[in-house]
């Protein structure tokens, strides 16, 4: 089960995208989600799709991973698409059956929504597959830094994020261990009716909570014991460095935004 989880998993590599500064990748990915709403015709979507495909190609990661990233969300996407098709009013009616009216505009809107979903997922998958979670938190810390002026505890937020990310694999291991132990005691996870399945979660969740709290306390003690104090004056082990390729990527996104702006109708 755990092995199929694709979200938030980093795949090591040395591609162009891997080597980019996490700040460049994070801002571009967020910017992409903004500008995708500029697209409103075939041409703009085509440009966006080509852009994303090029990025996938540059990341040198097996396209299968991107398809897998879409899979968990496929029902949500299809549901939205169907709603769009059914409830978009239009002039050119293709099909009418009682209250169900399907127009050309509806279909078109459905396809566009589908494209939008898939492209956003692909883009964010590129980000998470090629960036180490810790680099991402570094980037977040950097980008949030202006907020420190208004007394937002930026360093603490980033620390919490990186601790949380750091313990995701640990928790997964722990989950698997406890699942095994309870399966050995006769629990079938994922079998039986809903009530039985909900009941089988309890012997998994309680030990998981207990061990997480213990772990958190131990970690806090360990940090305290070493006199950890973050924020002001603390140097960093991993330094972010902005290279010309990062500027290039930002420029590419700028170009993409401008062309979308002109190509949209």
């Amino acid at each position: 089960m755990m092995e199929k989880l694709i979200f938030g998993r980093y795949i090591p590599g040395h591609s162009f995208i891997h080597q980019l500064d996490p700040r460049a990748k994070l801002t571009s990915a967020i910017w992409f989600i903004v500008i995708i709403f500029l697209a409103n015709n075939w041409l703009t979507y085509l440009v966006l799709a080509l852009f994303v495909l090029t990025a996938i190609k540059l990341s040198a990661i097996n396209p299968k991973f991107f398809i897998n990233g879409v899979k968990p969300l496929i029902w949500l996407i299809l549901f939205t698409v169907i709603l769009q098709i059914l409830f978009t009013s239009g002039q050119t009616i293709w099909f009418r059956f009682g209250p169900i009216v399907i127009s050309e505009e509806g279909i078109l809107n459905g396809v566009f929504i589908f494209m939008r979903f898939v492209l956003i997922i692909f883009m964010s998958t590129i980000l998470t597959l090629t960036t180490m979670p810790l680099s991402l938190t570094d980037a977040i810390e950097y980008l949030l830094r202006p907020l420190a002026a208004v007394k937002v505890p930026v360093h603490e937020i980033a620390l919490m994020l990186s601790i949380a990310l750091r313990f995701v694999p640990t928790l997964m291991d722990e989950t698997e261990k406890i699942m095994n132990a309870q399966r050995a005691r006769g629990i079938d996870f994922g079998e039986g009716n809903i009530y039985q399945q909900m009941k089988s979660i309890v012997p998994l969740l309680i030990p998981l909570f207990v061990s997480s709290f213990n772990r958190a306390e131990e970690l806090a003690t360990a940090m305290e014991a070493r006199g950890y104090k973050g924020g002001e004056g603390r140097t960093k082990y991993r330094k972010l460095s902005w290279e010309s390729r990062d500027t290039l990527v930002i420029a590419a996104f700028g170009l993409l935004s401008v062309s979308l702006f002109f190509l949209r109708t």
Partner: protein, 291 residues
């Protein structure tokens, strides 16, 4: 009930960039009524082997025969539950599996999953507490109020409550004090001797292997390096050291005596008692020569 591995291979996360082979076509058998020790240093594949013993994992190649059930990569997940009752596993740090409100309920959890009535299961719990060195007053206490050692004992009782035919122990005494270690190991040995339980012990404690086991399997990088009686395997101290494994303290002591005084021990003493008997003989003979 015998458990046999035939050409068993296991690959983690097959078909992804993270795939790693943990077992390489291994063959081994665990005979009914035996006390088998599974040794090997960290990362040798012990835990993976362990999870095949009651079909928590299915081999990616080859087959595992558990009693009369054959498990291959293509075996269905359904109907494996009956196997889990026959082969009980005490995982490493089993106290992590406790979750119920009271000790009694936690011990009764396993049997209840296999269809034993609440009342019978609770009686079983009451029966088992003294066996693991706790008394009845623990029945209604919360498992989370106990000490680490007591939690360990409750968790072990929770697995024993399944009344398995084969009991698999993954470093059951790690982190316990010496007295508690001996008590727990003696309890398992009692089950093996008196109730004919088949026991598989995964451990780094060579002293435990020497004292209790009658069969020993050495794993290294996912392959079985050697299999046999501990007495035969411990003769090769150098080879074991090359596997990053040691020998029991008695054997080490015997080897040192052999070097220093040119004594020979036959058979190789595995327990302190065996060593003492042989040393007494030799010393008596020496004293005789001198007179």
């Amino acid at each position: 009930m015998d458990i046999r591995f035939e050409e068993v291979g296991y690959t983690y996360q097959k078909g992804t960039p993270f795939q790693s082979k943990a077992l390489h076509d291994i063959n081994l058998s665990i005979m009914d009524g035996s006390f088998t020790a599974l040794v090997g240093h960290t990362g040798s594949g012990k835990s993976t082997v362990l999870q095949h013993l009651n079909a928590l994992k299915k081999p990616t190649s080859g087959q595992v025969t558990i009693g009369d059930r054959v498990i291959t990569h293509f075996s269905e997940d359904k109907g494996l539950k009956s196997l889990r009752k026959k082969v009980g596993i005490v995982f490493q740090f089993p106290e992590a599996q406790l979750f119920e409100e009271t000790v009694a309920k936690d011990i009764a959890f396993g049997p209840k999953n296999f269809g034993v009535s609440e009342e019978d299961a609770l009686n079983k719990a009451k029966e088992l507490l003294p066996l693991v060195g706790l008394d009845e007053t623990f029945m209604e206490r919360s498992p989370f109020d106990l000490s680490g050692g007591q939690m360990r004992r409750v968790a072990i009782a929770g697995v024993l409550a399944l009344e398995p035919e084969v009991l698999v122990l993954d470093e059951p005494t790690a982190g316990l004090d010496p007295q508690g270690r001996k008590e727990i190991m003696d309890m398992f040995y009692g089950l093996y001797k008196n109730q004919g339980l088949t026991i598989v012990l995964v451990t780094h404690q060579m002293d435990d292997v020497a004292t209790y086991a009658d069969h020993m399997i050495v794993l290294e990088q996912g392959t079985v390096m050697k299999e046999g009686h501990p007495r035969d395997l411990f003769k090769e101290a150098g080879w074991l050291a090359s596997m990053q494994l040691g020998v029991p303290s008695t054997v080490r002591f015997a080897h040192e005596l052999e070097e220093k005084f040119q004594w020979t021990f036959d058979p190789l003493p595995l327990t302190t008692d065996e060593l003492a008997v042989q040393m007494k003989e030799k010393l008596a003979r020496k004293a005789g020569e001198r007179v």
